[in-house]
């Protein structure tokens, strides 16, 4: 459906959820002895103006990208909770390519993206393969696979790949030739542009291609899709590969555009993957919604730091606000994913 009415229907509940969360957040602050109005003012000022905006955009890049990765899977009916592991492995692969591949500088960037996408895509593909081959539920397997992925990366940079001289659990720095254009300024880098292009591309994929149609129908009713002749197993493996590959590429963007080396915990501590997942839920897996929602959640997080500096409200309030939004969004929203198993037991 199109037209203003349909648009309003689509954004009404997310807007009300945001409103509800901020009201509850205000009550929480008031209860712990803070003035919510000045806190929210500080939040807006520090996230949307000047250097705050730059910081918000920088944070929005991985959040939108990982939100989009989650949305690709959710909209097709696959609950990929493994964004974090896929993101970390992608970053690790990109760092390894930049550090060890005997390539000229100009090839480092594309090669590290390909490597990141391949590694993370395959990692996510495993979850789909196990679901279709053995019946292992994807929701749980992808989640559990986050832990070994994270621990593997952590081990590598604290032992064999460690830059011992730095004294920290991190890899050596990547060569400057592998930096994303614009990264050196510390302001905007190519990553944001790439992510916005990805949003447009996925939007086009969903609405204007045969595969996109098949993904949407599988997400709405997998049995119907199968009945109609869609090979759901093949589609699901492809979708999970794509979702993982995108998450991995975002890992590469963070390494090549922000950290310039693999630092233990740098990708996981800011909760990017989980924030992206929340954004996908908030946006009901609509790519443009992910773009808007991702920017919004990034602003809430950046604002959280400003708020802590200005009025001493703990910045963790941002996390509380985000979780509350998703709590409200869950009401009345359809589950992004349907049960793939066929009901055998009819009564």
């Amino acid at each position: 459906m199109t037209g203003p009415r349909a648009w309003w229907n689509l954004i009404r509940e997310p807007l009300l959820s945001v409103l509800g969360a901020f009201v509850v957040g205000a009550l929480l602050m008031a209860a712990s002895g803070h003035n919510p109005i000045s806190a929210y003012m500080a939040m807006i000022q520090s996230s949307l103006v000047g250097s705050g905006l730059t910081s918000t955009l920088g944070r929005a890049t991985p959040i939108i990208g990982l939100g989009l990765a989650a949305a690709i899977a959710f909209r097709s009916g696959f609950f990929n909770l493994g964004g974090e592991g896929q993101f970390v492995l992608g970053g690790l692969a990109a760092a390894l390519v930049c550090l060890h591949a005997p390539l000229p500088g100009s090839l480092l960037i594309p090669t590290s993206f390909v490597a990141a996408a391949l590694v993370s895509g395959l990692w996510a593909w495993l979850g789909a393969d196990w679901e279709f081959r053995f019946g292992v539920p994807l929701l749980i397997s992808t989640l559990l696979m986050n832990y070994p992925a994270r621990l593997l990366a952590s081990y590598l940079v604290s032992k064999p790949l460690r830059d011992v001289a730095s004294g920290l659990p991190q890899s050596h720095a990547i060569p400057e030739s592998a930096y994303l254009p614009g990264a050196i300024s510390g302001r905007f880098h190519l990553g944001l542009v790439l992510v916005v292009i990805a949003v447009m591309a996925v939007s086009w994929l969903f609405l204007r291609t045969v595969v996109g149609y098949r993904m949407r129908m599988t997400g709405l009713n997998a049995r119907f899709a199968r009945y109609g002749g869609i090979d759901v197993g093949r589609l699901g493996r492809g979708v999970m590969f794509a979702s993982g590959a995108l998450a991995g590429s975002i890992g590469a963007i963070q390494i090549l555009g922000v950290h310039f080396r693999f630092i233990d915990g740098a990708l996981t501590k800011p909760f990017y993957a989980w924030t992206g997942l929340m954004v996908a839920l908030l946006a009901r897996s609509r790519p443009v919604g992910v773009l808007v929602g991702g920017f919004f959640f990034a602003a809430v997080q950046t604002g959280g730091f400003g708020m802590e500096r200005a009025v001493e409200v703990p910045r963790e309030l941002s996390q509380v606000l985000q979780a509350l939004i998703i709590l409200f969004v869950a009401v009345g929203a359809q589950r992004p994913v349907r049960d793939l198993e066929e009901g055998e037991a009819h009564v």
């Binding site: 291609t209 045969v210 996109g212 129908m217 709405l220 009713n221 049995r223 119907f224 009945y227 009564v347």
Partner: protein, 528 residues
């Protein structure tokens, strides 16, 4: 006509005037009004049932019978009117209140817990217990006593999931009796039963009525009305048309009251010269995921321009056979070919490519994506072909035009094809399915329960489309548990019982009685 039709209000008035020794009516509904939005489902309806009476409530799908009984049972609140049970006025907030006053209802879809035992199902919510611990031996003995008393043969200690459909229905009746129901409402109780089980049910109901229980049974099958009921109340378009004493009436009169006019003549079938088999099934067996064999070595052929009907009570392997033909389940053994091409190892997509299409029984869960737009539902299976796409990229205009042409051709009533399929009525949902699948059925259409739940006119429309499809030289394999439908449409008829074909008849030699015997598992009677 008026000489044997009288209106329910009359006996009610008569009762209140005097006759003190007559007991009050077991269930009395007065002036019930029930609206859903702008749709009036029950338009000031009266109904009065005496203790010990068996009353049939007949009418077409959508006439308001089930709604009326749900109002009586407390599932819906009436917008106006009153409910009296045993003469006392009642307000039901929920079925819980209705059960407490002595009402019981057996729903069309059973309300049973599959993984609990029969005893647990019967006592649930009213358990005999000591200090909160369920007294299981007391429960079992109470149930055994009840089932002996009323001839409801069922073992209290088995799980529901291991019971046949007929036994599950007996459990439902036991549930009502355990709660001391004096009025028992049954919604289409025979729809799921084989004829033998149906006879058993009727014996139980007659026995209960003799003991003074009032029985209301909803049906649209006139032979059952004639056989079981003393009186029949006929509904049409939300109102009661009248109540007849069955002994003084005839099936023709009742059906005229149901439809409001004479039955239209069944569509004529012209036998076309068969042009060789389009669908050939040889010795196909199917195993359930549990490993149990559910279809045993079924062989059949459907020729060009032919409709072959498969008769059988639900759950005798027909669904599994159809799902296997379509590739939805693996074939355990046997061969399937479409126009000479073997398909048993092909994917669903390739079988569709070979010219198979399917109208599934489970329309909402399998045949449609209810939350997707009507257009998107119509596109399935054609999405990769022009004019909808060039194989990769979709054309929005192509899709919209395609959908609007189909919607027009198949008279789908919707103001906006971008609205979700959820917004359509049951009849229109089936039209969406037919509009999608008939054009895809280049060779063979598998039509499963194609008119279940549709009103008379929609059903007639579906029948006409199936006959047209046949006339165009396609093959149709029809599965239905409605014998009248099978008899009306089929050129040849197969009967399935417990996963096997137990009878093959030509349309000339098939009668309802013969089919009924075969469906009940009586001796197989094959003709070449």
């Amino acid at each position: 006509m008026i000489q044997w039709v009288y209106f329910d209000r009359r006996p009610a008035l008569f009762m209140t005037e005097g006759a003190k020794n007559n007991p009050p009516p077991a269930l009395e509904l007065r002036d019930i009004l029930k609206k859903f939005g702008r749709v009036v489902a029950n338009d000031h309806v009266d109904l009065c049932v005496e203790p010990g009476e068996i009353r049939a409530l007949v009418g077409e799908n959508g006439a308001g019978k089930t709604t009326l009984m749900r109002v009586a049972y407390g599932l819906y609140r009436p917008d106006a009117g009153e409910i009296r049970v045993g003469g006392a006025r009642q307000e039901f907030a929920s079925p819980v209140d209705a059960i407490a006053t002595g009402l019981g209802m057996v729903h069309q879809h059973f309300m049973l817990f599959p993984d609990l035992t029969v005893a647990e199902n019967v006592v649930y919510g009213a358990e005999p217990s000591r200090f909160g611990v369920v007294d299981r031996s007391l429960a079992a003995s109470q149930i055994e006593q009840l089932s002996r008393l009323h001839g409801l043969d069922v073992d209290p200690n088995v799980l529901i999931r291991d019971l046949s459909v007929g036994a599950r229905q007996r459990v439902e009746i036991l549930k009502a009796l355990y709660r001391r129901a004096r009025v028992l409402i049954l919604d289409e109780p025979t729809a799921v039963l084989a004829p033998r089980e149906r006879d058993g049910l009727f014996a139980v109901l007659e026995d209960l009525a003799e003991d003074g229980t009032a029985i209301v049974f909803i049906t649209h099958k006139l032979p059952e009305v004639m056989r079981l009921a003393e009186r029949a109340t006929v509904m049409r378009d939300g109102s009661v048309v009248g109540t007849v004493t069955v002994a003084d009436s005839s099936p023709e009169e009742i059906s005229r009251m149901m439809i409001g006019r004479d039955l239209p003549a069944p569509p004529t079938r012209e036998r076309k010269a068969a042009g060789g088999p389009l669908l050939v099934v040889e010795g196909v067996s199917v195993d359930a995921p549990s490993g149990r064999r559910v279809v045993h070595e079924v062989s059949l052929e459907v020729d060009t321009g032919e409709i072959v009907g498969i008769a059988g009570a639900a759950g005798n392997g027909q669904s599994e056979l159809i799902e296997t033909l379509m590739g939805f389940r693996p074939t355990a053994a046997g061969k399937i070919s479409v126009a000479g091409q073997p398909v048993e190892t092909l994917s669903i997509a390739n079988r569709r490519e070979a010219g198979l299409a399917w109208l599934p029984d489970d329309r909402d869960g399998l045949g449609l994506a209810l939350e997707a737009s009507i257009t998107n539902n119509l596109m399935m299976g054609s999405e990769a072909r022009p004019p909808l796409s060039n194989g990769r990229r979709s054309s929005r205009r192509g899709c919209e035009e395609f959908a609007s042409v189909r919607a027009h051709e198949y008279r789908i009533k919707s103001s906006d094809l971008r609205a979700p399929a959820l917004s359509l009525s049951g009849g229109n949902r089936q039209k969406v399915l037919i509009a999608r699948e008939l054009p895809l059925a280049k060779r063979v259409l598998l039509a499963e329960q194609p008119t279940r739940g549709l009103d008379f006119l929609s059903a007639a429309d579906v029948h006409r489309r199936l006959l047209d499809h046949r006339a165009e030289g396609h093959a149709v394999l029809l599965v239905s548990s409605e014998l009248s439908e099978i008899l009306e449409l089929s050129d040849r008829i197969l009967v399935m019982f417990e996963g096997r074909v137990v009878g093959r008849l030509g349309s000339a030699e098939a009668t309802e009685e013969r089919l009924g015997l075969l469906m009940a598992g009586a001796v197989a009677q094959a003709t070449p």
